[in-house]
Protein backbone atom coordinates (compact mmCIF):
# COMPACT_ATOMS: atom_id res chain seq x y z
CA UNK A 1 0.00 0.00 0.00
CA UNK A 2 1.70 3.21 -1.14
CA UNK A 3 1.89 5.93 1.50
CA UNK A 4 0.72 9.31 0.24
CA UNK A 5 1.43 11.33 3.38
CA UNK A 6 3.11 10.48 6.65
CA UNK A 7 2.58 12.29 9.95
CA UNK A 8 5.10 15.01 9.15
CA UNK A 9 3.59 15.76 5.75
CA UNK A 10 0.11 15.92 7.23
CA UNK A 11 1.35 18.37 9.86
CA UNK A 12 3.13 20.52 7.27
CA UNK A 13 0.11 20.59 4.97
CA UNK A 14 -2.12 21.71 7.83
CA UNK A 15 0.35 24.43 8.81
CA UNK A 16 0.54 25.67 5.21
CA UNK A 17 -3.25 25.70 4.97
CA UNK A 18 -3.43 27.73 8.19
CA UNK A 19 -1.11 30.31 6.62
CA UNK A 20 -3.21 30.40 3.46
CA UNK A 21 -6.34 30.89 5.54
CA UNK A 22 -4.76 33.88 7.27
CA UNK A 23 -3.64 35.28 3.94
CA UNK A 24 -7.14 35.10 2.50
CA UNK A 25 -9.15 36.15 5.55
CA UNK A 26 -8.07 39.40 7.15
CA UNK A 27 -10.31 39.24 10.17
CA UNK A 28 -9.98 35.91 11.93
CA UNK A 29 -12.68 36.94 14.38
CA UNK A 30 -15.35 36.36 11.79
CA UNK A 31 -14.06 32.87 10.94
CA UNK A 32 -15.33 29.55 12.25
CA UNK A 33 -14.22 25.99 11.51
CA UNK A 34 -16.75 23.22 10.91
CA UNK A 35 -15.44 19.68 10.52
CA UNK A 36 -17.44 17.02 8.70
CA UNK A 37 -17.68 13.85 10.78
CA UNK A 38 -15.74 11.78 11.28
CA UNK A 39 -12.23 12.81 10.25
CA UNK A 40 -12.97 16.40 9.35
CA UNK A 41 -13.46 17.15 13.04
CA UNK A 42 -9.93 16.43 14.30
CA UNK A 43 -8.54 18.19 11.21
CA UNK A 44 -10.60 21.28 12.05
CA UNK A 45 -9.40 21.13 15.65
CA UNK A 46 -5.78 20.98 14.49
CA UNK A 47 -6.29 23.93 12.15
CA UNK A 48 -7.62 25.91 15.08
CA UNK A 49 -4.46 25.09 17.04
CA UNK A 50 -2.32 26.20 14.09
CA UNK A 51 -4.26 29.45 13.68
CA UNK A 52 -3.87 30.15 17.38
CA UNK A 53 -0.15 29.43 17.22
CA UNK A 54 0.36 31.85 14.34
CA UNK A 55 -1.98 34.68 15.31
CA UNK A 56 -3.02 34.11 18.90
CA UNK A 57 -6.68 34.20 17.83
CA UNK A 58 -9.09 31.44 18.84
CA UNK A 59 -11.45 30.35 16.11
CA UNK A 60 -14.53 28.36 17.21
CA UNK A 61 -14.88 24.77 15.99
CA UNK A 62 -18.04 22.80 15.26
CA UNK A 63 -18.79 19.26 14.12
CA UNK A 64 -21.24 18.44 11.37
CA UNK A 65 -22.82 15.05 10.72
CA UNK A 66 -24.21 14.93 7.19
CA UNK A 67 -25.89 11.51 7.31
CA UNK A 68 -29.44 12.86 7.27
CA UNK A 69 -28.60 14.97 4.20
CA UNK A 70 -27.03 12.21 2.11
CA UNK A 71 -28.43 11.85 -1.39
CA UNK A 72 -28.14 8.06 -1.25
CA UNK A 73 -30.16 7.72 1.94
CA UNK A 74 -33.20 5.45 1.51
CA UNK A 75 -32.09 4.57 -2.01
CA UNK A 76 -31.03 1.08 -1.05
CA UNK A 77 -34.05 -1.00 -0.12
CA UNK A 78 -31.86 -3.48 1.69
CA UNK A 79 -29.31 -2.99 4.40
CA UNK A 80 -28.76 -1.02 7.54
CA UNK A 81 -29.28 2.71 7.78
CA UNK A 82 -26.06 4.64 8.14
CA UNK A 83 -25.32 5.61 11.72
CA UNK A 84 -26.33 9.14 12.61
CA UNK A 85 -23.97 10.99 14.89
CA UNK A 86 -24.25 14.25 16.70
CA UNK A 87 -23.92 17.64 15.06
CA UNK A 88 -22.45 20.22 17.42
CA UNK A 89 -22.27 23.79 16.23
CA UNK A 90 -22.23 25.78 19.46
CA UNK A 91 -22.08 29.22 17.82
CA UNK A 92 -24.16 31.21 15.36
CA UNK A 93 -22.95 30.83 11.79
CA UNK A 94 -24.84 33.94 10.66
CA UNK A 95 -22.53 36.39 8.87
CA UNK A 96 -19.45 34.34 9.62
CA UNK A 97 -16.96 32.97 7.14
CA UNK A 98 -17.14 29.22 7.58
CA UNK A 99 -14.23 26.93 6.81
CA UNK A 100 -15.79 23.56 6.05
CA UNK A 101 -13.19 20.83 6.68
CA UNK A 102 -13.13 17.24 5.41
CA UNK A 103 -10.43 14.63 4.92
CA UNK A 104 -10.90 13.52 1.32
CA UNK A 105 -12.63 15.33 -1.56
CA UNK A 106 -13.85 12.80 -4.12
CA UNK A 107 -17.27 12.95 -5.83
CA UNK A 108 -18.26 16.12 -3.98
CA UNK A 109 -21.49 14.55 -2.69
CA UNK A 110 -20.47 14.73 0.95
CA UNK A 111 -19.63 18.41 0.57
CA UNK A 112 -22.98 19.05 -1.14
CA UNK A 113 -24.73 17.46 1.82
CA UNK A 114 -22.54 19.47 4.19
CA UNK A 115 -23.46 22.73 2.44
CA UNK A 116 -27.17 21.92 2.69
CA UNK A 117 -26.82 21.03 6.36
CA UNK A 118 -24.89 24.21 7.14
CA UNK A 119 -27.45 26.45 5.45
CA UNK A 120 -30.07 25.03 7.85
CA UNK A 121 -28.12 26.61 10.68
CA UNK A 122 -28.20 30.13 9.31
CA UNK A 123 -26.76 32.35 6.59
CA UNK A 124 -22.99 32.46 6.64
CA UNK A 125 -21.24 35.28 4.80
CA UNK A 126 -19.14 32.73 2.94
CA UNK A 127 -18.23 29.07 3.04
CA UNK A 128 -14.74 27.94 2.08
CA UNK A 129 -13.72 24.32 1.68
CA UNK A 130 -10.62 22.77 3.24
CA UNK A 131 -9.57 19.19 2.42
CA UNK A 132 -6.51 17.18 3.30
CA UNK A 133 -6.58 15.20 0.05
CA UNK A 134 -8.24 15.99 -3.28
CA UNK A 135 -8.36 12.79 -5.30
CA UNK A 136 -10.41 14.03 -8.29
CA UNK A 137 -13.41 12.32 -9.96
CA UNK A 138 -15.91 15.03 -9.08
CA UNK A 139 -19.57 14.32 -9.84
CA UNK A 140 -20.77 17.76 -8.76
CA UNK A 141 -19.46 21.27 -9.50
CA UNK A 142 -17.51 21.62 -6.25
CA UNK A 143 -13.95 22.82 -5.75
CA UNK A 144 -11.79 23.08 -2.65
CA UNK A 145 -10.29 26.42 -1.58
CA UNK A 146 -7.45 24.84 0.41
CA UNK A 147 -5.94 21.45 -0.42
CA UNK A 148 -3.35 19.53 1.58
CA UNK A 149 -2.37 17.35 -1.36
CA UNK A 150 -3.72 16.78 -4.86
CA UNK A 151 -3.56 13.10 -5.79
CA UNK A 152 -4.46 11.70 -9.17
CA UNK A 153 -6.29 8.41 -8.55
CA UNK A 154 -8.24 5.86 -10.49
CA UNK A 155 -11.79 5.13 -9.40
CA UNK A 156 -10.82 1.57 -8.49
CA UNK A 157 -8.48 2.90 -5.83
CA UNK A 158 -9.45 4.22 -2.46
CA UNK A 159 -7.75 6.80 -0.29
CA UNK A 160 -7.60 6.05 3.43
CA UNK A 161 -6.89 8.80 5.92
CA UNK A 162 -5.87 7.75 9.41
CA UNK A 163 -5.59 10.31 12.16
CA UNK A 164 -4.03 10.19 15.59
CA UNK A 165 -7.27 11.17 17.38
CA UNK A 166 -9.28 8.30 15.87
CA UNK A 167 -6.87 5.69 14.55
CA UNK A 168 -3.87 6.22 16.82
CA UNK A 169 -1.52 7.50 14.10
CA UNK A 170 -1.37 9.90 11.13
CA UNK A 171 -1.13 8.29 7.72
CA UNK A 172 -2.68 8.73 4.28
CA UNK A 173 -2.69 5.61 2.13
CA UNK A 174 -3.85 4.71 -1.33
CA UNK A 175 -5.06 1.19 -1.90
CA UNK A 176 -6.63 -0.91 -4.63
CA UNK A 177 -10.23 -1.47 -3.74
CA UNK A 178 -11.16 -5.09 -3.16
CA UNK A 179 -13.82 -6.54 -5.40
CA UNK A 180 -16.60 -5.15 -3.25
CA UNK A 181 -18.69 -2.98 -5.49
Amino acid sequence: MPVLMDAERVARALMRIAHEVIERNRDLNELALVGIRTRGVPLATRLRANLREITGTDVPVGALDITLYRDDLMRHPVGPQPLVRRTEIPFSIDDRRILLVDDVLYTGRTVRAGLDALIDFGRPRAIQLVVLVDRGHRELPIKADYVGKNVPTSSTESVRVRLQEIDGHDLVLIEKEEEQK
Binding site: V41, V78, L83, F121, I166
Partner: protein
Protein backbone atom coordinates in the same frame (compact mmCIF):
# COMPACT_ATOMS: atom_id res chain seq x y z
CA UNK B 1 -15.35 23.21 24.40
CA UNK B 2 -14.44 19.62 23.69
CA UNK B 3 -15.93 17.95 20.69
CA UNK B 4 -16.37 14.26 20.85
CA UNK B 5 -14.35 12.72 18.10
CA UNK B 6 -16.17 9.42 18.04
CA UNK B 7 -19.83 8.61 18.50
CA UNK B 8 -22.13 9.15 21.49
CA UNK B 9 -20.91 8.85 25.06
CA UNK B 10 -21.64 5.18 25.50
CA UNK B 11 -20.78 3.81 22.10
CA UNK B 12 -22.93 1.82 19.76
CA UNK B 13 -23.20 -1.90 19.43
CA UNK B 14 -25.66 -2.69 16.66
CA UNK B 15 -25.82 -0.99 13.30
CA UNK B 16 -29.42 -1.84 12.47
CA UNK B 17 -32.82 -2.90 13.66
CA UNK B 18 -33.87 -6.31 12.45
CA UNK B 19 -37.13 -6.48 10.55
CA UNK B 20 -39.48 -3.79 9.31
CA UNK B 21 -41.46 -3.16 12.50
CA UNK B 22 -41.15 -1.98 16.06
CA UNK B 23 -43.77 -4.10 17.79
CA UNK B 24 -42.41 -4.21 21.30
CA UNK B 25 -39.35 -4.15 23.50
CA UNK B 26 -39.64 -7.94 23.78
CA UNK B 27 -38.38 -8.28 20.19
CA UNK B 28 -35.34 -6.01 20.66
CA UNK B 29 -31.83 -7.01 21.68
CA UNK B 30 -29.88 -4.83 24.13
CA UNK B 31 -27.68 -3.75 21.19
CA UNK B 32 -30.71 -2.61 19.21
CA UNK B 33 -32.02 -0.66 22.19
CA UNK B 34 -28.67 1.13 22.50
CA UNK B 35 -28.69 1.85 18.76
CA UNK B 36 -32.04 3.64 19.11
CA UNK B 37 -30.82 5.60 22.13
CA UNK B 38 -27.57 6.64 20.43
CA UNK B 39 -29.40 7.66 17.26
CA UNK B 40 -31.86 9.67 19.37
CA UNK B 41 -28.89 11.43 20.91
CA UNK B 42 -28.01 12.75 17.45
CA UNK B 43 -31.63 13.57 16.62
CA UNK B 44 -32.13 15.68 19.71
CA UNK B 45 -29.82 18.41 18.49
CA UNK B 46 -32.18 19.09 15.55
CA UNK B 47 -34.77 20.57 17.94
CA UNK B 48 -32.30 23.31 18.87
CA UNK B 49 -31.73 24.50 15.30
CA UNK B 50 -33.34 27.54 13.72
CA UNK B 51 -34.68 25.24 10.98
CA UNK B 52 -35.91 22.15 12.79
CA UNK B 53 -36.03 19.88 9.80
CA UNK B 54 -33.74 17.46 7.99
CA UNK B 55 -34.42 15.87 4.59
CA UNK B 56 -33.82 12.24 5.64
CA UNK B 57 -37.35 10.87 5.08
CA UNK B 58 -38.25 12.99 2.07
CA UNK B 59 -40.79 11.20 -0.07
CA UNK B 60 -41.70 8.68 2.63
CA UNK B 61 -45.32 8.44 3.71
CA UNK B 62 -46.22 7.72 7.31
CA UNK B 63 -49.78 7.05 8.45
CA UNK B 64 -50.66 7.64 12.08
CA UNK B 65 -53.52 5.27 12.79
CA UNK B 66 -54.96 5.91 16.22
CA UNK B 67 -57.88 3.84 17.45
CA UNK B 68 -57.58 5.22 20.97
CA UNK B 69 -57.36 8.80 22.23
CA UNK B 70 -53.87 10.25 22.51
CA UNK B 71 -52.42 13.73 22.62
CA UNK B 72 -48.83 13.26 23.62
CA UNK B 73 -47.90 10.19 21.63
CA UNK B 74 -49.70 11.18 18.43
CA UNK B 75 -48.39 14.74 18.46
CA UNK B 76 -44.92 13.51 19.32
CA UNK B 77 -44.89 11.08 16.39
CA UNK B 78 -46.25 13.74 14.08
CA UNK B 79 -43.61 16.28 15.09
CA UNK B 80 -40.92 13.59 14.67
CA UNK B 81 -42.20 12.67 11.20
CA UNK B 82 -42.35 16.31 10.09
CA UNK B 83 -38.84 17.05 11.39
CA UNK B 84 -37.60 14.20 9.20
CA UNK B 85 -39.53 15.59 6.18
CA UNK B 86 -41.89 12.61 5.85
CA UNK B 87 -45.42 13.11 4.54
CA UNK B 88 -47.85 12.36 7.32
CA UNK B 89 -51.51 11.41 7.50
CA UNK B 90 -53.52 11.21 10.68
CA UNK B 91 -56.43 8.86 11.05
CA UNK B 92 -58.29 8.53 14.29
CA UNK B 93 -61.02 6.03 14.99
CA UNK B 94 -63.71 8.62 15.68
CA UNK B 95 -63.45 10.19 12.24
CA UNK B 96 -62.76 7.05 10.18
CA UNK B 97 -64.85 4.28 8.70
CA UNK B 98 -64.28 2.30 11.87
CA UNK B 99 -67.46 3.91 13.19
CA UNK B 100 -69.22 2.44 10.15
CA UNK B 101 -68.15 -1.04 11.22
CA UNK B 102 -65.04 -1.62 9.11
CA UNK B 103 -62.67 -4.20 10.61
CA UNK B 104 -59.10 -3.42 11.62
CA UNK B 105 -57.73 -5.61 8.83
CA UNK B 106 -59.87 -3.93 6.18
CA UNK B 107 -58.98 -0.45 7.38
CA UNK B 108 -55.28 -1.30 7.34
CA UNK B 109 -55.36 -3.01 3.94
CA UNK B 110 -57.21 -0.10 2.39
CA UNK B 111 -54.66 2.31 3.77
CA UNK B 112 -51.90 0.02 2.61
CA UNK B 113 -53.27 0.23 -0.94
CA UNK B 114 -52.13 3.85 -0.86
CA UNK B 115 -48.58 2.51 -0.30
CA UNK B 116 -47.41 4.12 2.92
CA UNK B 117 -43.91 3.24 4.10
CA UNK B 118 -44.70 3.15 7.80
CA UNK B 119 -47.82 2.98 9.93
CA UNK B 120 -47.82 4.16 13.52
CA UNK B 121 -50.63 2.28 15.24
CA UNK B 122 -52.37 2.62 18.57
CA UNK B 123 -55.16 0.20 19.36
CA UNK B 124 -57.20 -0.91 22.36
CA UNK B 125 -56.51 -4.59 21.71
CA UNK B 126 -53.25 -6.18 22.80
CA UNK B 127 -51.56 -7.74 19.79
CA UNK B 128 -53.23 -5.51 17.20
CA UNK B 129 -49.83 -4.35 15.92
CA UNK B 130 -48.47 -7.90 15.62
CA UNK B 131 -51.56 -8.78 13.62
CA UNK B 132 -51.09 -5.80 11.30
CA UNK B 133 -47.41 -6.49 10.82
CA UNK B 134 -48.31 -9.89 9.38
CA UNK B 135 -50.81 -8.59 6.85
CA UNK B 136 -49.14 -5.28 5.88
CA UNK B 137 -46.08 -4.64 3.77
CA UNK B 138 -45.56 -1.28 5.46
CA UNK B 139 -43.51 -1.18 8.63
CA UNK B 140 -45.65 -1.07 11.77
CA UNK B 141 -44.64 1.00 14.79
CA UNK B 142 -46.53 0.14 17.95
CA UNK B 143 -47.72 3.32 19.64
CA UNK B 144 -49.48 1.37 22.38
CA UNK B 145 -51.57 -1.78 22.00
CA UNK B 146 -54.08 -2.53 24.75
CA UNK B 147 -52.39 -3.70 27.93
CA UNK B 148 -49.43 -5.16 26.05
CA UNK B 149 -46.62 -2.77 25.07
CA UNK B 150 -45.76 0.85 24.38
CA UNK B 151 -42.18 0.50 23.17
CA UNK B 152 -41.39 4.10 22.23
CA UNK B 153 -42.44 5.24 25.72
CA UNK B 154 -39.99 2.80 27.31
CA UNK B 155 -37.26 3.91 24.90
CA UNK B 156 -37.78 7.58 25.72
CA UNK B 157 -37.84 6.76 29.44
CA UNK B 158 -34.55 4.89 29.09
CA UNK B 159 -33.11 7.79 27.09
CA UNK B 160 -34.11 10.23 29.85
CA UNK B 161 -32.67 8.02 32.59
CA UNK B 162 -29.42 7.50 30.72
CA UNK B 163 -29.06 11.22 30.15
CA UNK B 164 -29.26 11.90 33.88
CA UNK B 165 -27.48 8.85 35.27
CA UNK B 166 -25.09 8.15 32.35
CA UNK B 167 -25.96 4.45 32.62
CA UNK B 168 -28.88 2.07 33.15
CA UNK B 169 -27.23 -1.06 34.54
CA UNK B 170 -27.23 -1.33 38.33
CA UNK B 171 -29.66 1.54 38.95
CA UNK B 172 -32.50 1.00 41.40
CA UNK B 173 -35.63 1.92 39.52
CA UNK B 174 -39.02 1.92 41.28
CA UNK B 175 -42.18 1.76 39.18
CA UNK B 176 -45.34 2.43 41.17
CA UNK B 177 -49.03 2.36 40.35
CA UNK B 178 -51.46 0.35 38.26
CA UNK B 179 -49.24 -2.54 37.19
CA UNK B 180 -52.16 -4.57 35.86
CA UNK B 181 -53.40 -2.42 32.99
CA UNK B 182 -50.18 -0.61 32.13
CA UNK B 183 -48.44 -1.23 28.81
CA UNK B 184 -45.91 1.40 29.83
CA UNK B 185 -44.95 -0.82 32.75
CA UNK B 186 -44.55 -3.90 30.61
CA UNK B 187 -42.34 -2.20 28.04
CA UNK B 188 -40.28 -0.49 30.72
CA UNK B 189 -39.72 -3.68 32.71
CA UNK B 190 -38.65 -5.55 29.58
CA UNK B 191 -36.26 -2.81 28.55
CA UNK B 192 -34.76 -2.04 31.95
CA UNK B 193 -34.18 -5.68 32.85
CA UNK B 194 -32.54 -6.28 29.45
CA UNK B 195 -30.08 -3.54 30.35
CA UNK B 196 -29.51 -4.96 33.85
CA UNK B 197 -31.25 -2.34 35.97
CA UNK B 198 -32.54 -3.33 39.41
CA UNK B 199 -36.28 -2.87 38.88
CA UNK B 200 -38.78 -2.70 41.74
CA UNK B 201 -42.52 -2.54 41.13
CA UNK B 202 -45.18 -1.60 43.62
CA UNK B 203 -48.95 -1.11 43.70
CA UNK B 204 -52.11 -2.31 45.42
CA UNK B 205 -52.36 -6.13 45.47
CA UNK B 206 -55.45 -5.96 43.26
CA UNK B 207 -53.43 -4.18 40.56
CA UNK B 208 -50.42 -6.52 40.57
CA UNK B 209 -50.66 -9.06 37.75
CA UNK B 210 -49.86 -12.62 38.90
CA UNK B 211 -46.47 -13.87 37.77
CA UNK B 212 -44.96 -10.42 37.24
CA UNK B 213 -41.92 -11.42 39.31
CA UNK B 214 -40.98 -13.82 36.52
CA UNK B 215 -40.03 -10.79 34.42
CA UNK B 216 -37.07 -10.36 36.77
CA UNK B 217 -38.43 -7.58 38.99
CA UNK B 218 -38.82 -7.22 42.75
CA UNK B 219 -42.45 -6.89 43.79
CA UNK B 220 -43.67 -5.12 46.91
CA UNK B 221 -46.97 -3.68 48.08
CA UNK B 222 -45.10 -0.99 50.01
CA UNK B 223 -44.24 2.10 47.99
CA UNK B 224 -41.83 3.09 50.74
CA UNK B 225 -39.82 -0.08 50.27
CA UNK B 226 -39.74 0.41 46.50
CA UNK B 227 -38.67 4.06 46.74
CA UNK B 228 -36.03 3.46 49.45
CA UNK B 229 -32.64 4.37 47.97
CA UNK B 230 -34.01 4.53 44.42
CA UNK B 231 -32.15 6.32 41.61
CA UNK B 232 -35.34 6.67 39.59
CA UNK B 233 -39.01 6.69 40.59
CA UNK B 234 -41.48 6.19 37.79
CA UNK B 235 -45.13 6.77 38.61
CA UNK B 236 -47.85 5.13 36.53
CA UNK B 237 -51.20 6.69 35.83
CA UNK B 238 -54.24 5.38 37.60
CA UNK B 239 -56.36 4.74 34.56
CA UNK B 240 -59.61 6.22 35.79
CA UNK B 241 -61.43 4.81 32.76
CA UNK B 242 -60.44 1.29 33.84
CA UNK B 243 -61.24 1.63 37.52
CA UNK B 244 -64.81 0.34 37.52
CA UNK B 245 -63.69 -2.99 39.02
CA UNK B 246 -63.32 -1.79 42.62
CA UNK B 247 -59.57 -2.30 42.75
CA UNK B 248 -59.22 0.07 45.71
CA UNK B 249 -61.69 1.88 47.97
CA UNK B 250 -61.23 5.49 46.82
CA UNK B 251 -58.84 7.76 44.96
CA UNK B 252 -58.16 9.57 48.19
CA UNK B 253 -57.16 6.37 49.93
CA UNK B 254 -55.00 5.45 46.95
CA UNK B 255 -53.13 8.73 47.27
CA UNK B 256 -52.58 8.15 50.98
CA UNK B 257 -51.16 4.65 50.51
CA UNK B 258 -49.48 4.85 47.08
CA UNK B 259 -49.26 8.53 46.12
CA UNK B 260 -45.79 10.00 45.66
CA UNK B 261 -45.42 12.82 48.18
CA UNK B 262 -42.33 14.86 48.97
CA UNK B 263 -41.97 12.92 52.26
CA UNK B 264 -41.72 9.70 50.27
CA UNK B 265 -39.30 11.22 47.77
CA UNK B 266 -36.90 11.82 50.68
CA UNK B 267 -36.47 8.05 51.06
CA UNK B 268 -34.90 7.90 47.62
CA UNK B 269 -31.35 8.94 46.70
CA UNK B 270 -30.75 12.71 46.92
CA UNK B 271 -30.28 12.87 43.14
CA UNK B 272 -33.38 10.82 42.34
CA UNK B 273 -35.32 11.67 39.20
CA UNK B 274 -39.12 11.47 39.16
CA UNK B 275 -40.82 10.32 35.97
CA UNK B 276 -44.38 9.98 34.73
CA UNK B 277 -45.51 8.94 31.25
CA UNK B 278 -48.53 11.27 31.40
CA UNK B 279 -51.28 12.21 31.50
CA UNK B 280 -50.91 12.84 35.22
CA UNK B 281 -53.66 12.68 37.81
CA UNK B 282 -52.39 15.23 40.28
CA UNK B 283 -53.33 14.29 43.82
CA UNK B 284 -54.00 10.67 42.85
CA UNK B 285 -50.69 9.00 42.00
CA UNK B 286 -48.46 12.04 42.42
CA UNK B 287 -48.57 15.21 44.52
CA UNK B 288 -48.40 18.46 42.58
CA UNK B 289 -45.37 19.61 44.54
CA UNK B 290 -43.48 16.51 43.37
CA UNK B 291 -44.68 16.70 39.78
CA UNK B 292 -43.51 20.31 39.55
CA UNK B 293 -40.51 19.88 41.86
CA UNK B 294 -36.79 20.01 41.19
CA UNK B 295 -36.43 16.22 40.81
CA UNK B 296 -39.17 15.97 38.21
CA UNK B 297 -38.06 15.24 34.63
CA UNK B 298 -41.59 14.78 33.33
CA UNK B 299 -41.42 17.51 30.70
CA UNK B 300 -37.96 16.39 29.59
CA UNK B 301 -39.53 13.01 28.88
CA UNK B 302 -41.91 14.70 26.47
CA UNK B 303 -39.09 16.57 24.71
CA UNK B 304 -36.98 13.41 24.48
CA UNK B 305 -39.97 11.54 23.06
CA UNK B 306 -39.65 13.44 19.79
CA UNK B 307 -35.95 12.59 19.43
CA UNK B 308 -36.50 8.91 20.24
CA UNK B 309 -39.37 8.64 17.76
CA UNK B 310 -37.26 10.34 15.09
CA UNK B 311 -34.61 7.69 15.72
CA UNK B 312 -37.11 4.84 15.39
CA UNK B 313 -38.64 6.28 12.22
CA UNK B 314 -35.22 6.83 10.68
CA UNK B 315 -33.96 3.36 11.53
CA UNK B 316 -37.08 1.63 10.20
CA UNK B 317 -37.59 3.75 7.10
CA UNK B 318 -34.79 1.97 5.28
CA UNK B 319 -36.95 -1.13 5.04
CA UNK B 320 -34.92 -3.66 7.00
CA UNK B 321 -34.50 -7.33 6.22
CA UNK B 322 -38.11 -7.80 5.21
CA UNK B 323 -37.53 -6.38 1.75
CA UNK B 324 -34.30 -8.31 1.35
CA UNK B 325 -36.36 -11.44 0.91
CA UNK B 326 -38.66 -9.85 -1.65
Amino acid sequence: MNLQVANGPLGTAAARLRGKDLLGIAELTPAEILLVLDTAEAMREIAARPIKKVPALRGKTVINLFFEPSTRTRTSFEVAEKRLSADTLNISAGTSSVVKGETLADTALNLEAMSPDLMVVRHTSSGACHFLSRICRAGIINAGDGMHEHPTQALLDAFTIREHKKRLGGLKIAIVGDLLHSRVLRSNVLLLTKLDADVWVSGPPTLIPPGIAQLGVRVTTSIDEAVEGADVVMMLRIQLERMQGGYFPSLREYFTVFGLTSQRVRRAKPDVIIMHPGPMNRGVEIASEVADGACSVILEQVANGVAVRMAVLYLLAGGGEHEAAA
